[in-house]
């Protein structure tokens, strides 16, 4: 079992844990933006910086990627950490001044609007959407260009063939920069130029899933399990319950 020292407190670290995990598990607050517990560590936003004092090369590192090495001594609120986080917040605030989330985050870190010229972006290039799409095995979106011209896009900015309109990107985006228009019969991913019809539930005929989503679920469920992609969540629940109990609804399936 490894042990690290954070802000003077000796804390145990489990195998494979990062400094951020240990901090959060012990109630030590560390701001993050590109970090998401369900996605791979990325280290891009630089808000979760902590200062290594000893046990590794001293200096600022991103705690979301820094392994909790035995004997590591780090500070989460040192003057160097605070001023670096404040700079990062100021830069993000200048990039996305309209984003309520970024404004709240900046205010929490003592960052105010500065001389840095304002841009009018919502996307702060944290890459959560790219990593979510990749984790699902879809890889419909990726970063393109570099430096200030970097952005998230579908290949060649042509209507995406690969997006399955699952909206995982929407749900992980911290600033609401990705838009999905959902109607009764279809989902439209605005930025990815993907319009997908919703398929109907095999039982109740309610449109509920895109074909790509259904295929993805069927491809990825463990072998031996009955594919349930053709049923809406409600009917799936009832079908599953049926298999385990003698209970049957009195008359068909309704609300």
């Amino acid at each position: 079992m490894a042990a690290i020292t954070l802000n003077g407190r000796l804390l145990e670290a489990e195998a494979g844990e990062k400094v951020l995990d240990v901090a959060r598990r012990n109630g030590i607050p560390v701001p993050t933006l590109c970090h998401h517990p369900g996605l791979s560590a990325y280290g891009a936003c630089r808000l979760c910086l902590v200062e290594i004092k000893s046990g590794f090369r001293p200096g600022l590192v991103s705690s979301c990627t820094m392994p909790a090495i035995d004997g590591l001594v780090a500070e989460t609120e040192s003057p160097a950490v605070k001023s670096a986080r404040k700079l990062v917040a100021e830069l993000l605030l200048a990039r996305a001044p309209q984003s309520p989330e970024i404004r709240a985050l900046a205010a929490g870190l003592g960052a105010e609007p500065t001389a840095i010229p304002k841009k009018d972006e919502l996307c702060i290039l944290c890459g959560r959407c790219v990593r979510a799409c990749s984790a699902l095995g879809v890889n419909a979106v990726s970063f393109v260009r570099r430096g200030v011209k970097r952005r998230v896009a579908v290949p060649f900015d042509k209507p995406s063939e690969h997006c399955i309109a699952c909206q995982a990107c929407v749900s992980v985006c911290p600033t609401g920069a990705i838009k999905a228009k959902i109607t009764h019969e279809k989902v439209e991913m605005v930025e990815w130029q993907a319009r997908r019809e919703l398929q109907r539930c095999a039982v109740c005929q309610t449109p509920f899933v895109t074909a790509g989503q259904r295929d993805l679920v069927e491809r990825t469920v463990e072998a031996g399990h009955q594919p349930l992609g053709a049923l809406c969540p409600k009917c799936r629940r009832l079908e599953t319950a049926k298999a385990y109990s003698m209970w049957e609804p009195a008359s068909g399936v309704s609300g």
Partner: protein
């Protein structure tokens, strides 16, 4: 021909020696990219045509670069039984005369730089090349074969002792012994950071997982730096040999030469070398009967400065976007495809064969206490003699700039030196007694970097220079992390404003603070060092910044938006030379009477200043 053991290498070396010292004159034309750009191709063709036409029997070969870029195209003529004579620049139209002189048994004298001894009779009145100011003080270890051998010839490399270090390593040394030899030589990474090479090899070797990989980082991207290109183009087999030795040392069976796409000739020469080594069975299975298997592949870079960063380079080799990952894990633990990987710079590797050949002790005899051996520097910018120099580490900067470089171009006073390219900083001329080693440069806030030395003269504006480098890193940042992407974009715009005369509200202290923040918070070396040009020039030349910001004045007379060009009516003779040369017709006046500049038209190109013979143009 397959080479099966160490003895056959020695035999081949023996039988190939006549290629380098043939019984007829050997005319070697420097045909690296630099030579080609200066017209070496037509010089070589002219020699071929003239030798045929005048019936002079010669061996004409294309070689790498002798380093003296300012005197390209460079030609070396080796006369059997005498010496080799180096000429430069050699114009195409001089070739006929030179061949005629050779035919008549006379030594061509025009643009003769010096003689290189090849064990024959000396010609007393021609000084050795090593006495030429450009070469004086240089020690050619890494560049030992550049300009001497035909990089396309496996035999010529072997004739110069090539692949004997490999035979020694595979035949008489264990992997650990090879690592120990490199460790005790004191060799440090020449890519910039100066990490001890032997230690890097050892860490990769000790990493428990396998397979392991060794990668040559040939993604040289600093503006004005071309050390690695010259090595790859001029001595490709040295790198192939070093990679096999490195693979043997760390326990890798696969090596990758990562060469940037902008270096097609380097790629071509390395591909040829790989092919020849394969044919000679120096790559493949059971090399030299040692039981060691090793293969080498060339991967073309994707054209980004950031792909020289180790983790970004790995992504690029894997076919992904070249963007860095935070470390740890280091590539020595988890690199290419998650496996232990050792990445060495081109120049670092070029040192390896010679260290094994002549021993760590011999190598340690060159250089400074903590920086052993030599370093290649590309001496460019406002300097009288430009070129690639190889000097022992610890050589004072003054010896390089004023000695080899001959001081400022056209007699201009040298103001500073930019070391380490866009990641480095400037060093003011007052500090030129500083030794060129890793620690000394770092103490000055600069870095050794890969070895670019850009000379800045009194005609260079420090703000404009910083602006150039920040614009470069702004465009070359991968954009992954916030401080580098947004922060450098901001700094770059501030510098744009200052040189455009819109810097009135700029707070220099605040800029300095943002720079420090970017350096501390960025993910990789690119962002961590990108503010260096700005921070060091602010530190050493703050007055120049203040003149721009508070007085709206560019002391070096470079930033055109801050310049005011007028004509001194006392000095002007009305010769109208400036009227003729002004591209925007901003100058008017009656002949033989003082002229005037229309400020609304003037684009501040200073063409009038260049042409005026009466010193009548005022630039303030």
């Amino acid at each position: 021909m397959k080479i099966k053991d160490a003895d056959s290498i020695k035999r081949l070396a023996e039988s190939s020696r006549q290629l380098l010292t043939p019984s007829v004159p050997r005319i070697a034309v420097g045909m690296s990219s630099c030579g080609l750009a200066a017209g070496a191709q037509s010089v070589m063709e002219a020699f071929q045509v003239e030798c045929g036409r005048q019936g002079v029997e010669c061996r004409i070969v294309a070689t790498g670069c002798l380093g003296f870029c300012g005197a390209e195209p460079l030609v070396e003529i080796l006369l059997p039984g005498k010496a080799a004579f180096v000429y430069g620049p050699v114009e195409e139209n001089r070739c006929a005369d030179m061949v005629a002189e050779l035919r008549e048994g006379r030594l061509p004298r025009d643009n003769l730089l010096g003689r290189r001894e090849v064990g024959g009779a000396e010609i007393e009145d021609v000084p050795p090349l090593s006495d030429h100011p450009f070469y004086k003080g240089q020690i050619r270890i890494v560049t030992r074969n550049l300009g001497l051998i035909d990089p396309g010839s496996f035999e010529e490399y072997v004739a110069c002792g090539g692949y004997q270090a490999l035979a020694k390593a595979l035949g008489a040394m264990s992997s650990e012994q090879v690592i120990d030899e490199i460790k005790s030589s004191g060799l440090r990474g020449r890519g910039g950071a100066g990490f001890p090479t032997g230690l890097k090899w050892e860490m990769t070797r000790k990493s428990p997982s396998s397979p392991k990989y060794i990668i040559m980082n040939g993604d040289e991207g600093d503006p004005g730096a071309y050390m690695d290109r010259s090595l790859m183009e001029g001595d490709p087999h040295a790198l192939v040999e070093a990679m096999i030795i490195g693979g043997y040392a760390i326990g890798a069976q696969t090596g990758i030469l990562y060469v940037r796409a902008e270096y097609p000739l380097a790629q071509k020469r390395l591909r040829e070398a790989i092919g020849q080594a394969k044919e000679a069975a120096l790559l493949g299975r059971d090399i030299l009967g040692s039981g060691f298997d090793f293969d080498l592949y060339l991967v073309s870079g994707a054209g980004a400065f950031v792909s020289g960063e180790e983790t970004a380079l790995i992504h690029s080799v894997e076919g992904r976007i070249a963007e860095p990952d935070p470390r740890p894990p280091y590539p020595s633990e988890a690199g290419l495809y998650g496996q232990p990987t050792c990445i060495n710079n081109v120049e670092t590797l070029a040192n390896v064969p010679v260290i094994l050949d002549r021993g760590a002790e011999w190598y340690g005899g060159f250089g400074a206490e903590k920086s052993k051996g030599t370093k290649l520097f590309c001496l460019v910018g406002e300097v009288a003699r430009t070129g690639l120099v190889e000097v022992p580490l610890g050589t004072p900067l003054a010896a390089i700039v004023h000695g080899m470089g001959g001081g400022g171009r056209g007699g201009a006073a040298v103001k500073a030196l930019q070391t380490g390219g866009p990641s480095g900083g400037c060093i003011p001329s007052e500090a030129f007694d500083l030794p060129a080693d890793y620690e000394a440069l770092q103490k000055m806030g600069s870095i050794m970097g890969s070895g670019g030395l850009i000379v800045l003269s009194e005609r260079t504006c420090m703000v404009d220079t910083a602006r150039y480098f920040l614009k470069f890193t702004r465009e070359e940042s991968c954009g992954k992390c916030t401080p580098c992407r947004e922060g450098i974009d901001y700094l770059s715009h501030v510098l744009d404003d200052i040189v455009a005369g819109k810097g009135a509200g700029v707070n220099l202290d605040a800029i300095e603070q943002v720079s420090r923040g970017i350096a501390a918070a960025s993910l990789c070396g690119l962002g961590q060092t990108a503010p260096n040009p700005l921070m060091t020039s602010l530190r050493h030349f703050r007055a120049e910044y203040e003149a721009h910001v508070t007085e709206n004045r560019c002391p070096a007379g470079v930033c055109s938006a801050l310049l005011h060009i007028s004509i001194d009516p006392q000095a002007c003779t009305g010769c109208t030379a400036c009227v003729a040369v002004c591209p925007v017709s901003a100058i008017s006046g009656t002949k033989k009477e003082p002229h005037q500049v229309d400020q609304s038209l003037c684009i501040k190109c200073k063409a009038c200043e260049d042409i005026c013979r009466f010193n009548a143009i005022r630039v303030v």
